[in-house]
């Protein structure tokens, strides 16, 4: 992670606004976040059924990106296997529903199983670093999907699971459930930026050795963050299960979902309060528009988007905006200001080149 801090600090810290002003940033982020979610909440009132469908999925990705942010954004441990929690949530909730249990109980069971799985997996896996951690989590998700397929957990052949229909009125309910979940994640994110627990996670991201030397029990904090990120993901999986009524392992254990969590968070700004929300809404909305227009090059566009984001916006939309609204030094002329703006953008883009 040392190259991470080395590459970022020169461009972000040298001219940050002074301390007292920055300490209000969380409040503004919270207000803007609440405003965005409040606006989204009006979709069932003004939109039609297809808008409701689209925005339910968008909100699901908002939740997934937000919960990935807990582990990937705050501790810097880039898990590529969080989709495993999604799948666990979906299958546990599905099995509970098939066993004639109430839906809420199924959701809780899914969250519990996923949390337990994250705990047991995190104990060994969070000792790995960098590529090894990423690929170990990726492998877990792939292996779990394979297991569910071969053992046919869903009972419909190849792991396929079919659930009873939730009823047409319930679709608005699903929308608000996802909205509530993303609100909860927003509050948790704000809490993380303001609390001892969150500070410990950020310390781990910046320098794990230093955090350890200061007496932070880093391993337990990492496991805690992993479990924290598993719970909303599993709840989203459970909601998705009942919402979609039928699903199979390639859908709910799709590594692509894992990658989208990472992509959306990075696109918005990883480790920030608003980043995952902005990134998920911007990307998933565009993606939904492309898909509904019968466009068959969806994966090409997704791949290109990933390439462009990682090359040109590795620090996310939010940091780019911050870079633009940062005040120039007092007394600069208009021409100098333009030049300064161009310089900032160039530095932002070329920050990581050879």
């Amino acid at each position: 992670m040392s190259s991470h801090t080395k590459a970022q600090t020169p461009s972000t810290t040298e001219t940050l606004p002074p301390g007292p002003k920055e300490s209000r940033e969380w409040l503004w982020s919270l207000i803007v976040g609440l405003l965005i979610l409040g606006l989204v909440a009006t979709v069932p009132v003004f939109g039609d059924a297809s808008a409701l469908h689209t925005w339910t999925l968008i909100l699901m990705f908002v939740v997934l990106a937000q919960s990935w942010n807990f582990i990937g954004g705050f501790t810097g441990y880039s898990s590529f296997g969080n989709v495993a929690f999604f799948g666990i949530g979906a299958y546990t909730t599905g099995l509970m529903l098939l066993g004639n249990q109430p839906f809420w109980l199924g959701l809780i069971a899914g969250a519990f199983v996923a949390a337990l799985f994250a705990f047991l997996l995190g104990l060994p896996v969070l000792r790995l670093r960098g590529h090894y951690f990423a690929i170990a989590t990726l492998g877990t998700a792939v292996a779990l999907g394979e297991f569910v397929t071969v053992r046919d957990v869903g009972g419909g052949g190849g792991g396929l699971m079919s659930l009873p229909l939730a009823g047409l009125q319930a679709y608005t309910g699903f929308f608000y459930a996802f909205l509530g979940l993303s609100l909860l994640c927003l509050l948790i994110t704000v809490f993380l930026t303001r609390s001892r627990f969150g500070y410990a996670l950020i310390a781990i991201r910046e320098s794990e050795q230093a955090a350890e030397a200061l007496g932070v029990p880093t391993h337990w904090y990492k496991v805690g963050a992993f479990v924290l990120s598993a719970i909303p993901t599993a709840l989203a999986g459970g909601l998705y299960a009942y919402w979609a009524t039928g699903f199979d392992p390639p859908t709910v254990f799709d590594v692509g979902i894992s990658v989208e969590m990472v992509l959306l968070t990075i696109l918005g700004g990883s480790g920030t309060i608003l980043g995952p929300i902005l990134g998920a809404i911007a990307f998933e909305y565009a993606s939904a528009q492309l898909q509904t227009s019968g466009f068959t090059w969806h994966n090409t566009v997704l791949g290109l988007a990933i390439v462009i984001v990682t090359i040109f916006l590795p620090q996310g939309i939010l940091r780019l905006i911050q870079e633009f609204i940062r005040r120039p030094a007092a007394g600069t002329t208009r021409a100098n200001r333009l030049r300064e703006g161009a310089r900032r953008v160039r530095r932002f883009i070329a920050a990581n080149g050879v």
Partner: protein, 290 residues
């Protein structure tokens, strides 16, 4: 199955896996990039061989130099215009970038060749030596021989030529290498291009041995990763060692009663975790190809 047959299958599969992992190991060792598009390069190699075979009637094994040349160019371009720009970014960014490239390349291949399962049926497919009850297919021997040849050639290139030494030096210390007058940009592009060319060779051989479609690539990326972790970074022979160990796991584990087929990825992953816990530097691992 006779023990001799299992043994031969293991040796041939293991060497083939070495070819799959060789380019991946080079790119990771020199540039610290886990190239998730490696599987996509293998698939491009397979389709190049398929195209050469079906359009120009060039045998996939004889066409390997052509396939490697095509992939060399592709790899050079990818590194030069994309990966070089994020080389100093956090691991996550390069990881994500290569995943995006994987998605992009796989989808483009699918747009051009459709997602039908393809295979190349040469006249000699299925022919082989029969020693007692043991059958050794000719094409498997070609593939294993080429894999070992490529490993030896890469080893010779890296340790005995000036350009190869420049690559090693860049892998050991980028800044010192720059001070010695090595162009980092071009050296990285060359390294990645060689990695892609080796993936292309593996793809050409796989296209003759197994049926394939555009989405077969991901499995090879995962396998390459496991093999490299098993054998260790640092020397091309690590890929051979890793390939043999992994081939052993994949040949023997399904024979264990109660396990059965269908768990390919799960086996790969389980082997990976066990190795990471007990021997994090791999079997022959050295830091930075030193």
């Amino acid at each position: 199955m006779a023990l001799g047959q299992v043994f031969i299958n293991w040796l041939l599969l293991g060497s083939l896996y070495a070819a799959v992992a060789l380019g991946f190991s080079l790119v990771w060792g020199i540039m610290n990039i886990v190239n998730l598009a490696h599987g996509a390069f293998i698939i491009v190699g397979a389709y190049t061989a398929f195209w050469l075979y079906s359009q120009l009637h060039i045998d996939p094994y004889l066409g390997i130099p052509l396939t490697m040349a095509a992939l060399f160019v592709l790899g050079w371009i990818v590194q030069y215009i994309a990966i070089n720009r994020v080389i100093r970014a956090p691991l996550l960014v390069t990881f994500l970038l290569t995943f995006g490239l994987d998605l992009l390349i796989t989808d483009l291949v699918q747009q051009f060749f459709s997602s039908d399962l393809r295979s190349i049926n040469t006249a000699y497919a299925g022919n082989g030596l029969d020693i007692g009850s043991t059958h050794i297919a000719f094409d498997r021997i070609f593939a294993a021989g080429i894999a070992v040849l490529l490993t030896a050639a890469l080893n010779y290139f890296l340790t005995r030529t000036r350009t190869g030494n420049a690559i090693l030096a860049t892998g050991m210390d980028r800044d010192a290498a720059r001070l010695m007058g090595i162009s980092i940009r071009n050296t990285y592009a060359l390294t990645f291009a060689i990695g892609a060319a080796l993936a292309g060779a593996a793809g050409a051989m796989l296209s003759e041995l197994y049926p394939f479609n555009p989405s077969s690539g991901d499995a090879f990326t995962l396998r390459a990763f496991v093999i490299v972790v098993l054998g260790g970074l640092g020397t091309p022979w690590g890929a051979v060692a890793g390939g043999l160990v992994f081939g052993l796991a994949e040949t023997v584990v399904p024979l264990i009663p109660g396990v059965g087929p269908g768990y390919d990825n799960a086996i790969a992953f389980a082997v990976l975790v066990i190795v990471l816990i007990f021997r994090p530097s791999g079997l022959l691992g050295k830091p930075y190809y030193s």
